[in-house]
């Protein structure tokens, strides 16, 4: 019996260890899958005509003729929407209509003055036109159909009047007729509601299709284009079709979301069929095409990373890495050589080793504080530089942080060079320096390279040390080492929580992190493969 229990415990234990490893792998998968999958959609996706327009305008990329053809085709379908909206708007907007009538009346008055007619007739015509205007305005402002009809009828009585023929006043009748025809299907009492609903409808349409070509170009780039991607377009289309409202269903409980078709707001009007029209013709209006947007990796972005890619961030990360490598590489290798070649019981060596361990354990944010206090506020100004965060200070801070990684990896590499190499070289009469440079270093190079790669991946991924020493979320490309720079790491932070525009474009959010992870992983996998090769080689000997 006891044996069975022991046996079972043993099995359970083994199962637990296996489970923990499975969980470990699962964790990696759970973290990576959403990030990489969604990040991937920043580059490969179904782009609409709006995307191609944006690319042409902002990045001067794409086939103009082709785009013009596509644009003409899509405008064919869009025109109906714009026309309908315009017409509908005209009739519910009493103020504009009244202004228009008054304007015409004024022009007519001036026209009469020029005509040189007898005073009495002039007075009569003026007052008549004023009367017509007033009646029209009553009709426009009224929400009672009966009053509208009466007034319009009164106005139209004068339509055949010979005195108004071929004058500007004739326009008044045209307006009146149009108005009478158009409002047949409109519930005038709901004019205010219509106006509000129409505004919302228009706003969503702009988000979906881009601004109406008959209105002025918006000042901000992000408002100039509609939905650039089909999945976003579908989301917006859904918003357009369904009206979401929060309603209280039971007292004392949170409200619940209720969706109703937005078309119901416009029941009976000419806007109502537009909803079905847009839904059915969305493909014709947006012309979606499979897009491979590799330029994501080189494009700069508009504020908030709304459009464009991660070009400046990648460049900044590379610059930062390069600059810190300039410091890490020599110091790291020399320190490693010193540690590996000198007797290890030395007191000083012990201190150095302890310093390296301490350095490796210092929290990254403390490096940030140190970089701010030492490099930004003390060292750079000491040499006459500007006392502000910049690439140089960030690189120095990162170099201090990454030094232990480099030293440890290189030391291990130098130590793993077989003693026989060194002895052979020394035996042939080479000096210590020559032996090190010509024999040991080349033999240890793959290992050192692994260390360099790991340091690069560390530098590229660290965020906390550069928060106050040189990273910015958005800005121009750096011109020299005294400019701050965008980086993938800080950009990932900013795009996740610091920017509202970015949360509207999740593909760009995930794209940035995915780029960072991909970069770091490529470096790490290279290091892993290289290390495997070295260990195989060493075993072979």
């Amino acid at each position: 019996m006891r044996f069975i229990i022991r046996h079972i415990t043993d099995k359970i234990f083994t199962a637990l260890t296996v489970l923990s490893v499975v969980v470990l792998v699962a964790i990696l998968a759970v973290i990576l899958t959403p990030i990489l999958w969604k990040g991937f959609s920043a580059v490969v996706f179904t782009g609409t005509i709006e995307f191609r327009k944006m690319q042409l305008d902002l990045f001067n990329r794409g086939d103009i003729d082709e785009l013009n053809k596509e644009n003409a085709r899509s405008q064919l379908y869009r025109k109906k929407i714009y026309d309908t909206i315009d017409r509908f708007k005209q009739n519910i907007d009493a103020e504009t209509l009244c202004d228009k009538a008054a304007q015409i009346c004024r022009t007519f008055g001036k026209e009469l003055q020029r005509k040189n007619m007898p005073g009495a007739e002039y007075q009569q015509l003026r007052s008549l036109s004023r009367e017509i205007r007033d009646k029209l305005q009553i009709a426009f402002n009224s929400s009672n159909k009966k009053i509208v009809d009466e007034n319009i009828k009164d106005v139209l009585k004068y339509k055949t009047d010979i005195r108004f023929k071929d004058t500007s006043a004739a326009e008044l009748f045209a307006i009146a007729e149009n108005f009478a025809a158009d409002i047949k299907n409109i519930d005038l009492a709901k004019r205010q509601e219509y106006a509000y609903a129409l505004k919302e409808f228009e706003n969503i349409t702009v988000k979906l299709l881009g601004y109406n070509p008959s209105t002025p170009v918006p000042a901000l780039k992000m408002n100039r284009y509609g939905a650039t991607r089909l999945n976003i377009a579908k989301k917006i289309l859904n918003q357009l079709l369904l009206l979401e409202k929060w309603e209280q269903t039971s007292p004392g409980k949170p409200m619940v979301k209720i969706s109703t078709p937005r078309a119901r707001l416009f029941a009976g009007t000419e806007i109502e069929p537009l909803f079905d029209y847009i839904r059915d013709n969305i493909d014709e209006m947006l012309i979606p095409k499979r897009t491979f947007y590799w330029q994501y990796l080189i494009d700069s972005s508009t504020p908030g990373h709304y459009f464009g890619g991660v070009g400046p961030e990648i460049l900044g990360t590379l610059l930062l890495t390069l600059a810190s490598m300039v410091f890490i590489f020599p110091i790291g290798i020399i320190s490693a050589a010193y540690l590996a070649e000198c007797p290890s019981d030395n007191f000083i060596i012990k201190i150095i080793r302890m310093a390296i361990n301490t350095l490796a354990g210092v929290p990254s944010i403390v490096f940030g504080l140190f970089g701010l206090a030492f490099f930004v506020l003390y060292l750079v100004p000491l040499f006459g530089g500007p006392s502000k965060p910049c690439i140089l200070t960030a690189a120095l801070t990162l170099a201090a942080l990454t030094l232990p990684v480099m030293i440890r990896a290189s030391e291990e590499a130098i130590r793993s060079v077989p003693q026989s190499y060194k002895e052979a070289s020394l035996g042939l009469g080479a000096g210590k320096l020559r032996t090190f440079i010509c024999v040991i270093l080349p033999a240890a190079l793959p290992g050192i390279l692994t260390g360099i790669i790991l340091s690069i991946s560390r530098v590229a991924g660290e965020t906390a040390p550069i928060l106050f020493t040189g990273a910015i979320a958005f800005g121009p490309m750096p011109k020299n080492a005294f400019d701050p720079t965008c980086t993938l790491s800080y950009g990932s932070y900013d795009i996740a929580v610091g920017d509202r525009l970015a949360s509207l474009v999740p593909h760009n959010q995930y794209g940035m992190v995915a780029t960072l992870i991909t970069l770091v992983f490529c470096l790490n996998i290279a290091a892993i493969i290289m290390r495997a090769k070295i260990s195989r080689k060493l075993k072979g000997q």
């Binding site: 901000l220 929060w246 409980k253 908030g304 006392s387």
Partner: protein, 275 residues
């Protein structure tokens, strides 16, 4: 011949000098994270109109903006509050005369999750929520739900304004969550049923619900007119009034142009010229 050569050299030198001075045109802008997006968008507009001017916008908080102006490290300081007395005296001591340009109005909106039936709070109720005296929506006529109050971090200008208008010297409760940006407040409130937070009026959208404060809904009219109790002007500070015609002058008066106002409105603030 000689004369021609001389003229040529002169012209070339002039061109070179012009180029130099053109390249020299830089504008350092530093300060509030709230004003930052406006400055960013102005920069975007300026980069089209004046491609040779290099404008750097650093968003590191109103306090740092003031400090940078005092140390002449920037040309324009963005501030979401007026200069404090000590900042003002410090700059005057250094021979710098801060001039304020109120470029836009910003209202601090109280936002809750859209499922929250509460539509209105008074300043006193807000005060109670953020001091921790009220912990459940039930006490405010809402559903039985714990209140998750979210604040901006204590060094931001938005916090200072909220502190000034609502807290009135009282301390915020320890259970208040602090986040480091307006968008973060927005996204926390958007995803949390019992949350309440405060953001600039530009962050009010369909995903969250803005509350009336003292019975007044935050809108363009109420914010610009000052009837909404939590409104504040946003400033650009320069050293003296910028010399007319300089790029700095153009930047500081850009808010008066139609395009500038369109940008301010697009960024969710209220143009000061539209009362």
């Amino acid at each position: 011949m000689k004369k021609n050569l001389f003229t040529m050299v002169l012209v070339l030198t002039a061109v070179w000098v012009c180029n130099l001075s053109a390249a020299e045109k830089t504008l350092q802008i530093e300060g509030s994270t709230t004003v930052g997006p406006i400055a960013d968008a102005f920069t975007e507009a300026f980069s089209q109109a004046y491609p040779d001017v290099k404008i750097t916008v650093t968003k590191n908080g109103s306090g740092n903006g003031a400090a940078a102006l005092v140390d002449s490290r920037c040309d324009i300081a963005m501030m979401s509050r007026f200069m404090k007395l000590d900042e003002f005296t410090a700059s005057v001591d250094k021979g710098i005369m801060p001039v304020a340009h109120a470029i836009a109005m910003d209202g601090i909106c109280i936002i809750v999750h859209p499922s929250n039936p509460v539509t209105e709070l008074s300043l006193a109720q807000l005060h109670d929520i953020f001091t921790g005296a009220v912990k459940n929506w039930k006490e405010l006529g809402g559903p039985d739900m714990p209140i998750v109050a979210i604040s901006r971090d204590t060094s931001s200008g938005t916090y200072e304004t909220f502190d000034h208008f609502v807290m009135r010297k009282d301390k915020m409760d320890a259970s208040i969550e602090y986040v480091s940006s307006n968008p973060q407040v927005h996204s926390r409130v958007k995803t949390t049923a019992g949350a309440i937070g405060y953001v600039g009026v530009g962050f009010l959208d369909a995903e969250v619900k803005g509350l009336k404060v003292n019975g007044i809904m935050p809108s363009k009219q109420t914010v610009a007119g000052g009837t909404y109790p939590l409104s504040r002007p946003l400033f650009l500070f320069t050293n003296g009034y910028p010399a007319l015609g300089t790029i700095s002058h153009k930047f500081c008066t850009f808010y008066l142009t139609e395009k500038g106002q369109e940008i301010i409105e697009a960024k969710g603030f209220v143009p000061v010229t539209k009362y």
